[in-house]
């Protein structure tokens, strides 16, 4: 028998992942050794350093992508322009979201529960809510999740992709259960997300098996070649693609696989919701793009109508149900479902234009949604965040600055010009018309109008109602939340006014290597 040889590893290409992974492991050790009161700051600094190192190597490599050398780690990882763009986006968005994780000035002990194992509602639980420092295992968990996401968008075969899917999902399930307030809701959301997520992963794995049955391989190049060849019974391939798509569409929260979204977004701690809404979306769409554009490119005419129907359903469900919501976090969850639909329209548009628009949309939406959740974490009363819509009435009079910022963010979600939301929607719809999907654009525009209604209702409520006795106060944010809010809002404005640089970057990045 031949001697086994470790495949060539391009360690520089893997460094972004390795940096986050090592930092996460160090974070676990810090949890064991460092006294509780120093942990938050140390974990935060460590995470930011790791993200900076990862970003440095992503940027360094972006200048040196060569198609012949892009494949590494025995053909498991593909570092091409699209992968680097997505990795960079994930790292930057992850950084902004992690700032929210570290915030300790809004509430004593931060947004996370001190001891998640204490029974909800017990004497001990009431004591720890107000008095104990929050757990900081959230930082290593978030870093593990991020390193999984980096792998997910650069995986070159379905097996590696599946492992990456699990690596980035498992910490998210855990993070959802760690809210300091309303812990039952939080635990319920974690359990729901875990059960449904495990189910979706099983579909994905089943799909991998089917595709392997057809192509006798799991890497995208071989699948593409085999699909082009068209020999054998392609039924297996189509079943496989359908099952893979279920797994991926669950993660992007497309209807009818979106049912977990409102419950999880509402129950999870707000920083985690921001992290999920921005980073998970980028990672899941990155994976979906790679599967569809690299592996199943030859099947375009078969999956486009199905995905088109799903996109139409997603924007309709998201926008119509958003109208009926009375809780802000749920409202934003349905808005994120609708936004997943708009991004899907860009995915279906195909070609380079579609890819560019999707990449731009993901980054633009990620920044805006983090800013939105950062602001939600500011509006609070004695019981924590006041997320019920009626409580926000008259906030404009109480605190014009934050109400103004929130108005701006909502206008960006609605796609009003001079915000990044406008440019993002414009480019996605433009790409879709170019790709011959005009019917989707018509549905997209109609649902955008429907979706503007709940946003504007919040705006009207904030500015035109008199503040009542139950209107909560807006906490003065600490440095971390202010920074996150500032970055998110500024990005929304800048990408809306001068979208050129990011669009150029996305255009350069919009090429997969097969």
């Amino acid at each position: 028998m031949d001697k086994l040889k470790l495949p060539d590893m391009d360690y520089v290409a893997l460094l972004p992942m390795l940096a986050l992974f090592v930092a996460a492991c160090l974070g676990v050790i810090i949890e064991a050794l460092v006294p509780r009161r120093f942990r938050n700051i140390i974990q935060l600094v460590l995470s930011i350093v790791a993200l900076a190192v990862a970003m440095f190597f992503v940027v360094k490599q972006s200048g040196e992508v060569v198609a012949s050398k892009a494949l590494t780690a025995g053909g498991a990882i593909m570092i091409d322009h699209a992968a680097l763009f997505l990795q960079g986006a994930l790292i930057v968005l992850g950084f902004v979201a992690l700032l929210l994780f570290g915030e300790r000035s809004l509430e004593f002990g931060g947004p996370f529960v001190a001891q998640a194992a204490v029974t909800v509602g017990s004497e001990r639980d009431r004591e720890q809510t107000g008095r104990e420092l929050g757990s900081t295992e959230t930082f290593p968990l978030a870093l593990f999740s991020l390193s999984g996401m980096l792998l997910f968008v650069s995986a070159n075969d379905l097996l590696t992709m599946f492992v990456a899917l699990e690596v980035f999902s498992l910490p998210l399930y855990l993070l959802c259960a760690l809210a300091r307030r309303k812990r039952l809701l939080s635990q319920e959301s974690a359990l729901k997300y875990f059960l449904l997520g495990a189910y979706a992963s099983a579909f994905f794995l089943f799909g991998v098996a089917m595709v392997y049955g057809f192509a006798k391989a799991v890497d995208f190049k071989a699948i593409h070649a085999e699909a082009l060849l068209g020999e054998g019974n392609s039924l297996l391939l189509i079943i496989g693609l359908a099952l893979l798509a279920i797994g991926l569409l669950f993660k992007v929260a497309a209807a009818p696989f979106h049912v977990w979204t409102p419950d999880v977004y509402q129950g999870a701690p707000t920083p985690v919701t921001a992290f999920m809404a921005s980073c998970t979306k980028v990672a899941a769409f990155g994976g979906l793009l790679r599967v569809l554009y690299v592996g199943f490119d030859g099947l375009g005419w078969q999956f486009t109508p199905v995905l088109g129907a799903i996109a139409a359903l997603t924007v309709l469900v998201g926008s119509i149900l958003a109208v009926t919501q009375t809780d802000l976090k749920r409202l934003l969850a349905y808005s994120s479902v609708a936004n997943a639909g708009y991004i899907l329209i860009g995915v279906i548009a195909g070609q380079q234009l579609g890819l560019t628009s999707v990449l731009f949309y993901l980054v633009a939406y990620g920044f805006t949604v983090i800013a939105a959740f950062a602001l939600i974490s500011l509006v609070r009363d004695a019981d924590g965040e006041a997320t019920h819509l009626s409580r926000w009435a008259g906030l404009g009079a109480r605190s014009p600055l934050y109400a103004g910022i929130f108005t701006f963010i909502l206008l960006a979600f609605a796609g009003i010009p001079l915000t990044s939301g406008f440019i993002a929607k414009l480019s996605v719809f433009g790409a879709a018309i170019d790709g011959g999907q005009t019917w989707l654009v018509i549905i997209g525009v109609i649902t955008s109008i429907i979706l503007a209604f709940p946003y504007l209702r919040v705006v009207v409520m904030m500015w035109l109602s008199e503040p009542g006795e139950s209107t909560p106060s807006v906490s003065i944010p600490g440095g971390l939340t202010s920074t996150a809010l500032g970055i998110g809002t500024l990005a929304t404005l800048v990408f809306g006014v001068v979208p050129g640089p990011l669009l150029d970057l996305a255009e350069k990045a919009s090429s997969f290597v097969r």
Partner: protein
């Protein structure tokens, strides 16, 4: 048509129904322990299938790791947590069960027919080549060459799982909660506290249940003799009635 040897067919037709019955039993069993045992049956059958289909390693892993270790651990946890058969069977969403069964059967039929049509004229290839150097060796070479990165990354999964288990299950005790021996003794002999051991539950001719309180000298039930988490057992009139044991059965 795929050529399947006679022995393989016999094994399949015996074990396949058993596996399906196990799966159905796992879903339908009311008792969590029974559910787990049904699942063990299905897993063992699948393990034998894998071995029969020339995958001895995955077959043995299925039996030793999944069935032997994980399911048994699962059973231990069920026993430790305390099995509770009183799961609510009331549907919170009306018609959910029917809809779920209909959709599930539909999906099963769809996938089943799809798979049948997709594989009916398929010729399996590559088994001899994959097992050329032996099954275990073949797997090992794949894990340590082509999929080495995925294999290493699973360690992140394990660490997250361990951290998660610690977060969700472990309660750190605070310093002021740790009571020393001296303090504990002082508390024990404080006025108002009864320092002796608690009496056991009542043992009578009619009942020796742990939920039956012992009787104090004046005939009242001794509340300290039963565990506070047990519901007090309601005695039926026949049990409550005087059995005349003291008078030798003679009614006075």
């Amino acid at each position: 048509m795929i050529d399947v040897s006679w022995g393989e067919q016999v094994v399949f037709y015996i074990l396949a129904p058993i596996a399906v019955i196990g799966a159905l039993g796992m879903v339908m069993a009311r008792n969590a322990v029974h559910s787990a045992l049904w699942l063990v049956l299905t897993m063992l059958s699948l393990g034998v299938f894998y071995i029969v289909q020339a995958g001895p390693f995955i077959g043995m892993v299925q039996i030793i790791v999944y069935t032997g270790a994980i399911m048994m651990l699962f059973l231990f946890v069920l026993m430790l947590v305390g099995r509770d058969a009183s799961d609510s069977v009331i549907e919170t969403l009306r018609g959910q069960k029917v809809a779920a069964i209909a959709l599930g059967v539909g999906l099963g039929v769809l996938l089943g027919t799809g798979l049948y049509r997709g594989t009916v004229d398929l010729t399996p290839v590559g088994l001899a080549e994959a097992n050329k150097n032996g099954n275990v060796q073949g797997l090992a070479s794949l894990i340590f060459t082509k999929y080495v990165w995925a294999f290493e990354v699973t360690s992140a999964l394990l660490i997250s799982a361990a951290v998660g288990a610690m977060i969700l299950a472990h309660v750190e005790r605070r310093k002021d909660e740790r009571i020393g021996q001296a303090a504990m003794m002082k508390e024990r002999f404080l006025p108002g506290n009864y320092p002796g051991p608690k009496p056991g539950p009542g043992v009578y001719a009619t009942s020796n249940s742990v939920a039956t309180p012992a009787k104090l000298p004046d005939g009242n039930p001794a509340q300290r003799s039963i565990s506070p988490i047990l519901p007090l057992r309601e005695l039926e009139p026949a049990e409550k009635a005087d059995k005349h044991t003291l008078t030798g059965g003679h009614q006075s």
